[in-house]
């Protein structure tokens, strides 16, 4: 029996379907961002911009403090990533390496926290941050994001720590390292790929979060990109070319990141997913 997928052209069509499905929204937004307002409201609509312009990009930065939003997103996502890695690396090391009773239960507790709907936690988190005077601050987002990232980061790191032979660590300790010294000098460097994978997942999660960012940080000085970009639309006006330009600015960093590290991201996602 011959497999129909042996045909090269059919395989190309299959790849084409997947690629078009993944890229068409980004491509359409890119084309929209290059059109003039006049071209956008002409009928029938045009697909390819007739007089491509970069004016929308300039306006995207002047209509709203887009650069500030970008800075806020980078600050929040980067700090959340670093702290998520720190907290989950310590926990994962304890689970993977120490001779603890009920280690499976501990891991289950951490993973189960992702089963609670974020929106039900929103109200008390909002109250807590309000009481602590932390509304409109980076901390208000970074703290919950660490917890949001904790399950997947811990899962990825536990399996990486488990893959490092224990003998290496023992050898370091015989040579006079303390347990912590062995952790820092031997385990961490060997677990670097895992740390990196977990880090990218944490960064994307934090970069994308919308509900908490919308509810806790309404002050423009602390707004993140996903929230900021929804504000270009007025009550009755939707300046689509400008929104599109802002979207492209916001999508490019994350797209470049996943394009460079795609194999790691896929590995981490499926590892975190399949073990959970």
């Amino acid at each position: 029996m011959t497999n129909i997928w042996d045909s090269k052209s059919l395989r190309l069509i299959a790849a084409g379907i997947v690629v078009i499905n993944g890229f068409f929204p980004a491509v359409w937004i890119l084309l929209t961002s290059l059109k003039t307002e006049a071209e956008l409201v002409s009928k029938p609509i045009t697909y390819w911009p007739h007089n491509p312009t970069l004016a929308n990009y300039v306006q995207a930065f002047t209509d709203q403090p887009l650069l500030k939003y970008l800075g806020n997103s980078v600050t929040v996502a980067l700090s959340a990533t670093i702290f998520s890695l720190l907290v989950s690396a310590l926990a994962a090391y304890a689970i993977a390496r120490l001779n603890l009773k009920r280690r499976q239960l501990i891991l289950t507790c951490i993973v189960a926290s992702s089963m609670f709907p974020l929106v039900t936690l929103l109200v008390p988190i909002f109250e807590t941050m309000r009481t602590l005077g932390l509304l409109n601050s980076y901390t208000a987002l970074v703290l919950p994001y660490i917890v949001l990232n904790l399950p997947v980061c811990t899962l990825v790191l536990v399996s990486f720590f488990q893959s490092i032979p224990k003998d290496l660590e023992n050898a370091a300790m015989i040579d006079g390292c303390t347990r912590m010294g062995a952790l820092v000098r031997v385990v961490v460097p060997l677990a670097a790929p895992g740390v990196f994978t977990a880090g990218i997942l944490a960064f994307v999660n934090s970069w994308d979060e919308f509900l908490l960012a919308l509810s806790l940080n309404s002050n423009p000085n602390f707004r993140t990109l996903p929230v900021g970009i929804t504000l270009y639309q007025g009550e009755f006006t939707f300046p689509w070319p400008i929104i599109s330009a802002a979207l492209i600015v916001a999508i490019v960093p994350i797209a470049v990141l996943i394009a460079i590290f795609q194999e790691r991201v896929v590995g981490g996602l499926t590892q975190g997913g399949l073990k959970g």
Partner: protein, 300 residues
Amino acid sequence: MTGVSTYDKMRDPSEKTLGFLLLAPAFLLLALIVVYPIGRLIWNSFHDLRLSGGGGIKFVGFENYVLVFKDPDFWNAAKNTVLITLITVPGALVVGMGLALLANLPFKHKWPVRLALLLPWALPLAFAGLIFAWFFHTEYGVVNDVVRRVASPSEPVMWLLRPNWAFAAICLTIIWKTSSFMALILLAGLQMIPKSLYEAAEVDGASQVQQFWQITIPMLMPSIIVALIFRTITALQTFDIPYTMTKGGPGNSTETLAMLIHKTTIDYLDVGYGSTLAVFMFVLSMFVTAFYLKRIGRNA
């Protein structure tokens, strides 16, 4: 190994303490961001608690719960949330399965296909909502342009301005956004199925359709269940996409539970009632999780 005894001496007394210290940050944060909020949520739900105005906190017993049952907005939001879940979870599974099967073919270059699956996953939900709102724009949207070319209806479809069309547009957007993650999980599962199974089936004369139902689907079951759990739990929390596409409109025809909770607490600052709504949401999610966990137990 000569060093084991030294090592054992070193680790014995401190093991428990060390474990405690290493796990402390994670559990402190879990306590602050998950455990305390759940307790606080339940406490709130028994009180009249508004952050606007000067009114104090009053214990009201089950009054909020009674109000929820009589609240047409709650039933509307609950109906929308359940409908979105029932439509988009199977929808994303079917589309994701299709994408995974296509992406699993032996391509010479794997990266374009892999990136095409990763990009929708990495795109913030809020951005997907904005982009698809533009697609579904009545006058200048590309969807209506295609509809006009294919079917040439007498009037353009008012996608986001009519309740049923808006609901459909939101479901399509959610399916597009979430099917890629589904596909990535399923793809990893597909790659773990031993080729020999298919070769054996081939020898026995099984058709490709038979192979799909007799080998692929059963072998893929663990991945499917994991993907379904993740997807169902996030579908019940649907917020970003309807919020950016319709703000719950027209009227409140596309308002979800998460949107109602957000509006009640953050916009109206009615924390007591909002918390009660959140308790219902909480119970709903726990039911779903328990249901799936039971299924997993049976399958294992």
